[in-house]
């Protein structure tokens, strides 16, 4: 009898305690595990509003994986990412990359261009035809005709803010962003004049992402340059 009274009192006390402060709702999911990422990269990895932390949702898994490994191993220098990923293995980084690659979420509306017609024409030309004289391949050759990237490792070029495009192309050109060697994008970026980078970012950021657009499943033609990050690229 006394034991059951004590048990009842305990049960009541526990019930009161659980009402007083709710225990956190923790799911055994990848979404729960990668809250460490979405703090900066926006809810579900849709990008932060400041244009600095890019969208990661829906990018090809191989591309995301390459970036995670590059941050962890110091190829892409950014202390917050490097420290965050330091204790994680290749396998877990692949799982994180696959998680974000599978998210299909709406894209933000494009940013209206602020440049003149000449600049936009130059941007569009570089994207669709490149510049043979400067040995710049057309963006669409690698990034897909729809510019939504190509699985598994080539990222989209539309659906991103202008500031981010400028920052990344600039970083590649200046040698502070690297990919797996041979680093094809570094070679291309080094052939781009600052005015060409600006033309590209103006045109690309003004393009709307069609509803339901996804990375192309496979490359239509071989890559024009050897790229360490892309499986099957010419050596």
């Amino acid at each position: 009898m006394r034991a059951s009274v004590v048990a009842l009192a305990l049960a009541l006390a526990l019930a009161v305690a659980s009402v007083a402060h709710a225990a956190p709702q923790v799911e055994d999911t990848m979404a729960q595990r990668v809250l460490a990422c979405t703090g900066c990269h926006g809810p579900q990895g849709r990008a932060a509003s400041d244009g600095y932390y890019p969208r990661i949702a829906g990018k090809p898994a191989g591309y995301l994986y390459n970036q995670l490994v590059s941050f962890r191993d110091g190829r892409r220098p950014y202390a917050l990412m490097t420290n965050l990923l330091a204790p994680l293995t290749d396998d877990y980084l692949r799982e994180i990359a696959e998680h974000f690659s599978q998210l299909e979420l709406p894209y933000p509306p494009p940013t209206p261009a602020t440049a003149g017609v000449d600049v936009l024409t130059r941007g569009e030309t570089l994207v669709t035809r490149g510049d043979a004289a400067l040995r710049i391949p057309a963006c669409v050759q690698c990034h897909g005709a729809g510019l939504m990237g190509v699985a598994p490792s080539v990222p989209a070029l539309i659906g991103m803010p202008r500031d981010y495009l400028n920052a990344q192309l600039g970083a590649w050109r200046a040698g502070s962003r690297h990919a797996m060697p041979p680093d094809c994008m570094a070679q291309v970026a080094q052939r781009l004049a600052p005015s060409d980078i600006s033309a590209l970012s103006q045109w690309l950021s003004a393009q709307a992402v069609p509803a339901g657009a996804k990375p192309a499943a496979a490359a239509v033609e071989p890559l024009p340059l050897p790229c360490g990050g892309a499986p099957g690229s010419p050596k």
């Binding site: 007083a20 402060h21 709710a22 225990a23 956190p24 709702q25 923790v26 990848m30 729960q32 595990r33 990668v34 809250l35 460490a36 990422c37 979405t38 703090g39 900066c40 490994v69 962890r72 191993d73 110091g74 190829r75 202390a79 917050l80 490097t82 420290n83 965050l84 990923l85 330091a86 204790p87 994680l88 293995t89 396998d91 877990y92 799982e95």
Partner: protein, 429 residues
């Protein structure tokens, strides 16, 4: 005084100074040689047995050799990682059998001398960033096994990076003085009054595991009080606080169950807390690979560490009444750590009653809030839950208010944290 006698007095003073300098140099040299046996010529390196190589691989894990001797993303054991010190950066060399850059031309005796006496193959003195004040306790047979393992690795022709130390710390003479003051070769000793487990634990913790390379404070010349000192200290340059392994207010485990200590070292998480920051590397590179018998031995040793006579406690001022910290907690932290700071087992550590939250040094708390982090991926915790960095979201004032709230809530009694404290540790943006 005539000019002549002045010259004679000057000459005498010069001779005395020279003699004293010579004596000091001889003393330093003698202290550096003391207890060091002459290097015996070895038999040529014969092919080692697979068993010896496997034992060496295990011991190299226990010593976490790879932790320093492998660059981020680099070839295993090929060196190149810098150990930042207040005197400059010391770069760990290539340990693969490459004849030019690695251990290809070394003999087992020379390798033993490096561990036991802190000398390079050519006899030059090594910097104690290589923890030979601890490794000096490693047995010759364990050193031979590690050497056999390293010789079994693929040779990597990766050149060593020269250290970038400031004058005078880049001089062998300075190192000789340091060693004369702080280094004595030692042997693993068995304490007959203790059990086999304790003795094995002492060997691993004090020797190979070199725990006190971090878990002890260092003096102005970078020396710890003794290899047995595990009283906690701020890791130079990195500025993470490696807590005392003896103090009940820090990371002492005297009142933990054996299973909880072993689980923490094996998986990186336990019901009593998780590892973050530099200790993540130790768990992922070293302790998760140790046998249960060795983890139990380390546990036995750590649980028997005598508590310090004086405990550093940060007796608390109550959390500020303006509620800024509580609001920030509700907005950014409560979803995972709970309204009452009780965390979620296996995913997010409890903050109520956490010593990381309440201990005197707030360094680790500031690091975790600013930089976020994951516990290490281990076989026992292959898919850890992470915490986002808040460096770009919270100001120094915000972090101070939040941490002061944590340190004064749910029965925690830690001192307030100021924005100046936070700024001191804000090193990653």
């Amino acid at each position: 005084m005539t000019q002549r006698s002045a010259a004679r007095a000057g000459l005498r003073a010069l001779v005395i100074v020279a003699l004293v300098a010579l004596l000091v140099a001889a003393l330093v040299a003698w202290l550096n040689q003391r207890g060091e046996d002459a290097l015996l010529p070895d038999a040529p390196n014969a092919a080692a047995s697979p068993e010896l190589i496997a034992r060496g691989a295990y011991l190299a894990r226990a010593g976490n050799c790879m932790g320093c001797h492998t660059e981020r993303g680099g070839v295993a054991y090929a060196g190149g990682r810098g150990v930042p010190t207040p005197f400059g950066t010391v770069y760990a060399p290539n340990l693969t059998p490459d004849p030019e850059h690695g251990l290809g031309r070394w003999t087992a005796s020379e390798f033993w001398r490096a561990l036991h006496n802190g000398r390079a193959r050519d006899g030059r003195l090594l910097y104690p960033a290589f923890p030979y004040p601890n490794y000096t306790r490693v047995t010759r047979s364990d050193a031979d096994a590690i050497f056999a393992f390293l010789r079994s690795l693929p040779a990597a022709a990766q050149a060593n990076r020269p250290h970038t130390l400031q004058f005078p710390f880049d001089q062998q003479a300075a190192l000789a003085v340091w060693r004369a003051l702080y280094f004595r070769p030692a042997a693993a000793e068995t304490d007959a009054s203790r059990g086999a487990d304790w003795n094995r634990g002492a060997y691993l913790v004090e020797g190979l595991g070199h725990c006190n390379a971090c878990h002890a404070s260092r003096n102005a010349l970078g020396a710890t009080a003794s290899p047995l000192d595990l009283a906690g200290g701020l890791i130079p340059v990195q500025n993470w606080y490696a807590p005392s392994l003896a103090s009940p207010a820090e990371a002492g485990v005297a009142d933990w169950s054996d299973a909880h200590v072993m689980t923490l070292l094996k998986t990186g998480i336990s019901p009593r807390g998780a590892v973050m920051g530099p200790m993540s590397e130790v768990v992922s590179g070293s302790t998760q690979h140790l046998s249960d018998a060795d983890l139990r031995a380390m546990t036995t040793y750590l649980k028997a560490l005598p508590p310090p006579a004086v405990t550093r406690v940060a007796e608390g001022t109550p959390a500020p009444i303006d509620g800024t910290g509580a609001k920030l907690y509700a907005k950014h932290c409560a979803a995972c750590h709970g309204d009452a700071g009780d965390g979620s087992p296996g995913a997010y550590p409890a903050l109520a009653g956490s010593r990381t939250v309440t201990m005197a040094s707030a360094a680790n708390l500031v690091h975790v809030v600013l930089e976020g982090g994951f516990p290490p991926v281990t076989a026992g915790n292959p898919r850890p839950y992470g915490m986002p960095p808040f460096a770009t979201v919270l100001s120094d004032d915000d972090v101070a208010a939040l941490l002061t709230h944590l340190r004064g809530s749910w029965g925690n009694r830690g001192a307030a944290v100021s924005a100046v404290d936070v700024n001191r540790f804000r090193n990653a943006k």
